[in-house]
Subunit: 141 residues, 2 copies
DNA sequence: CCGTTTTCTGCAACCGGGTTGCACGCGCGG
DNA sequence: CCGCGCGTGCAACCCGGTTGCAGAAAACGG
């Protein structure tokens, strides 16, 4: 098989999860249908024939399989994002951007979060850096 | 009157809101009873005799009056924090810390958020910087 | 090829935080 | 003294997330 192009079926199979109709629909949607981070509600709207709890569990499955990662963008509703292919374990530590106009969330995977010194006694485990503003397509539009 | 000490009643009055029994209870609680950021649930637990929606509306009133400010700490549940007195309009732009053990959220008002360059076309309006880790009292304990 | 077992899916219900509608009550002003 | 407005309590709702359960579908083993 050709490594330069891996089919959606093979991606799921490689991740160690069973390939089912729903999972394939979900993966194709999130892989090709969304340009950036998405919520469960987005997925529901895109695939109205599939039950919400099934979508939820499918997202959990894909996240556990390191095909997606979870973003805590501070809106209270959790967002998912496709992990960069082949590098499924380095999804954290980068800056996120939430557009105040279109409410989309973007991963800036190449901008990493600057570290600030904390007061004595405070120990950092992970950091969220979320910029809210206007995204490039909303500014152009 | 003495500027060095303003009574709770006067604080509310100065902010332009009517002084009522509930508002006084709430203000005293958040002003003297909580050491850091708190949620509506915290307030409910501290003042069980007051109705939840009343507490919610009171918090909204106090926030509108710039006596409190809202923190988006990424947990999905919104937190409130007492604004530094006399400087009620500069509550944003600083680092927050959420303890993974005791789930308290702290305002580090003197640590301001470092700025990162964004890709072309993206315009920043506000930034959330939330560190998750272990707070000093949980580490000592 | 059939029966068993495991997994996946859909439906319904639940949960918690946030929010709103409505009615009562108190206080202030005419 | 009457009425209006604001504050409060109660109940209900909304929304996103989550779980229990039962039926369908896929894998497994003979």
């Amino acid at each position: 098989m050709n490594n330069a192009f891996i089919s959606d079926e093979q991606t799921l199979d490689n991740a160690g999860i069973r390939v089912t109709a729903v999972r394939l629909m979900v993966w194709r949607q999130v892989r090709h249908g969304f340009s950036d981070a998405f919520s469960l509600a987005d997925l529901e709207a895109a695939l109205p024939t599939v039950d919400r709890s099934t979508l939820f569990r499918t997202l959990t499955t894909l996240t556990d399989a390191h095909l997606l990662h979870l973003i805590d963008d501070g809106t209270g509703s959790q967002k998912y994002c496709v992990c960069p292919e082949g590098d499924t374990h380095h999804c954290g530590g980068h800056v996120h951007f939430t557009c105040l106009t279109c409410h989309r969330t973007f991963c800036f995977t190449d901008i990493h979060i600057p570290v600030v010194p904390l007061p004595d006694g405070f120990e950092a485990r992970e950091t969220e850096y979320v910029v809210k503003g206007i995204c490039s397509s909303c500014r152009k539009g």
